[in-house]
């Protein structure tokens, strides 16, 4: 089966004081039907910019190039009104902060129905019935009453369920979830992750899950893309990333987090230094100033994504010789 999403050489540049700087640099990945792909990295690595670029929600001042093929159609070539038919219909989106994503002055019912009325040729009455049905599917108690309430009357977890109901209302083939549980407490996070897993299983929806939390990645994803400073530094199956990480940044991330199942208390191994700023990218490998294995070539020339095996790629000179 062909891929739901193919991203080819996506570049996003922002204008800062008259100069263009790359926030996303030659990013390519794909998502297969029914698959959950994790996009991981720290703040400023370009993961959210990538997701916004895919659905063309960046401001016009951003320069976006490359191809974003959604079910074979290049989203970057579409006219604005054609793109609007895809958002919320073929591609659903949920963001981190449910309070700022929902409109505070509209009732929950109106916000779900809006999506349905926009994309489906149905009556308001039918849209209402389908909205109640959707709220039921995302596990909202008393859905009939909630339809008549405003966002401020709901808890954070409930709001995120409403966001998921809106995103899933038109049964999209791809769901883009940008830090969907970051603002939630762990027990509520567990509920929402379970819901997303159920949705993916029941509807066959592919998910692009953007997160900084490696625990969430390990639980949810089939494959993982690790980003650093606007580039993909490693890409592989979830097992590749967690059991055979190649790139020093990926390894650093895995070593830096305290483990709740650790037997003995060990000192954390941080990654020294800070993420480079957009305007001051290091020459050569972008991770070289913080890398414990840095050598002279690293500082001169940026490595490409070398294949470790069929599914596993790493942007590190240490992986070069494996390429035959």
């Amino acid at each position: 089966m062909s891929n739901i999403l193919d991203v080819e050489l996506l570049n996003v540049e922002f204008n800062i004081n008259g100069n263009y700087y790359h926030a996303v640099n030659d990013v390519s990945f794909h998502i297969k039907p029914g698959e959950t792909l994790g996009l991981v990295g720290e703040s400023g690595c370009g993961k959210s910019v990538t997701s916004l670029a895919l659905v063309r929600l960046l401001s016009k001042s951003a320069r976006v190039t490359g191809n974003v093929l959604f079910e074979g159609q290049n989203l970057l070539d579409l006219a604005d009104n054609e793109m609007r038919k895809i958002r919320g219909n073929g591609i659903g989106m949920i963001f981190q902060e449910p309070m700022t994503s929902l409109n505070p002055v509209y009732k929950i019912g109106a916000q779900i129905s809006e999506t349905l009325l926009l994309h489906r040729d149905i009556s308001a009455r039918e849209a209402f019935v389908q909205s109640v049905d959707m709220l039921k599917k995302v596990g909202i108690p008393r859905p009939d009453e909630i339809m008549d309430e405003h966002p401020h009357q709901l808890s954070g977890g409930m709001r995120q369920r409403v966001m998921i109901a809106i995103a899933m209302a038109c049964n999209p083939h791809l769901l883009i979830a940008d830090e969907p549980t970051t603002a939630l407490d762990v027990t509520i996070q567990a509920q929402i992750l379970e819901l997303m897993r159920d949705i993916s299983n029941d509807f066959g929806t592919s998910i692009l899950l953007i997160t900084h939390d490696l625990g969430v990645v390990a639980e949810m994803c089939d494959r993982v893309v690790v980003m650093y400073a606007g580039q993909i530094v490693e890409q592989g199956t979830v097992d590749d990333i967690f059991f055979n990480p190649q790139h020093p940044y990926t390894r650093g991330l895995l070593n830096a987090i305290p483990k709740i199942d650790a037997r003995s208390k060990q000192r954390l191994q941080p990654i020294e230094g800070n993420v480079p700023s957009l305007t001051r990218m290091p020459r050569g490998c972008r991770f070289s100033p913080r890398c414990p294995h840095v050598t002279d070539p690293c500082k001169m020339q940026s490595p490409e994504l070398f294949a470790v095996d069929d599914t596993h790629f790493s942007r590190c000179w240490m992986n070069e010789k494996r390429e035959i």
Partner: protein, 323 residues
């Protein structure tokens, strides 16, 4: 570890609710309700719970940044709730706080030197030249170049700002530091730098920490003992090892099972809690957790459970935990 540095007894903080234009009293939000614990010198007490459980209010109440409603707080044997404002201000030399958001907790118009020397000015300590030396030595100690003293907060990254926040807390050489979500706003790679720094400083200055956080892995890593709070009340208190290996309270168990583990092959027996946190303005009768508890019985709806020592040094408030 021997002597008790901080002793909190039946600490309550109720925020009154007022309704209507005449501001009639309409009950109270019981943000902190009957909290008692001790902290020993050199120890780290972790405090965990979900948002709204009262952990931050409790931290601030201990410093009297929020005035507690009732209870006693003894610091180094002295009842600090009996102190006058000026006595309390002097007492805060000994007890400091580090906040979560390093962006909001530094004055953007102050240079780092101004921010760090302000505590010395308030307490009339040292001459100007000594102050500058002291600022530079503390900056160096938290891993920042002494020359950064002349810069402004916006010139720093989140991790560096949190180091400045820690430096500010250290300026007066306190005994106790309350750390309120000190690493929650930081990226993973920087978070571990700050955690290691906190551990080093504790060793070097023999500091006592109250470490408030929602991230259980972080709390487990840094704490000697951990207090679990739910809806303003204590659910469980035990040594860190004991709590994470053998949680007794059903809330603690659910909380632990909900943490995503960064290992795709980890076995998970997840206890998913139904529903949301009840409102602390209108807590459920009996055990406050019974509305979400997977093993609740009739007694839980009727009677609030007592706080008891279930195992040596392992306390829990639950009817159903076997003795």
């Amino acid at each position: 570890m021997s002597e008790v540095l901080l002793e909190v007894n039946h600490l309550n903080k109720y925020f009154p609710l007022q309704r209507g234009i005449f501001r009639r009293s309409a009950g109270a939000v019981r943000a902190v309700d009957g909290i008692s614990f001790e902290v020993q010198t050199g120890e780290t007490l972790g405090v965990v719970g979900e948002s709204g459980c009262g952990k931050s209010t409790m931290g601030r109440s201990i410093l009297r940044l929020i005035e507690p409603t009732s209870g006693t707080i003894k610091f180094a044997g002295q009842d600090i709730l009996a102190l006058t404002d000026s006595q309390m201000r002097a007492m805060r030399r000994e007890m400091q706080i580090v906040f979560q958001d390093p962006y909001a907790s530094l004055n953007p118009r102050y240079t780092i030197f101004q921010t760090l020397s302000e505590p010395m000015e308030i307490h009339h300590l040292y001459h100007a030249a000594v102050r500058r030396k002291h600022v530079e030595s503390i900056l160096d100690r938290v891993g920042l170049a002494p020359s950064y003293a002349s810069r402004f907060p916006h010139e720093f990254s989140g991790g560096q700002r949190q180091r400045i926040g820690i430096a500010r807390a250290l300026m007066l050489n306190p005994k106790l530091i309350i750390l309120d979500e000190p690493v929650a706003a930081l990226d993973v790679s920087v978070q571990s730098q700050v955690m290691n720094l906190l551990e080093d400083l504790q060793q070097e200055f023999n500091l006592t920490y109250i470490f408030i956080a929602h991230d259980l892995s972080v709390v487990k890593h840094i704490s000697n003992r951990v207090l679990v709070m739910y809806l303003g009340r204590m659910a469980e208190l035990a040594s860190s090892d004991d709590l994470f290996a053998d949680a007794l309270h059903p809330y603690t168990r659910a909380l632990l099972s909900a943490v995503p583990i960064p290992n795709p092959r980890a076995k998970r027996e997840r206890i998913i809690l139904r529903g949301d946190l009840p409102s602390p303005a209108n807590p459920p009768p009996g055990c406050v957790f019974h509305t979400r508890c997977p093993i609740a019985q009739d007694i839980c709806q009727q009677k609030a459970p007592e706080w008891r020592e279930v195992k040596p040094n392992h306390y829990a408030a639950c009817h159903l935990v076997a003795l």
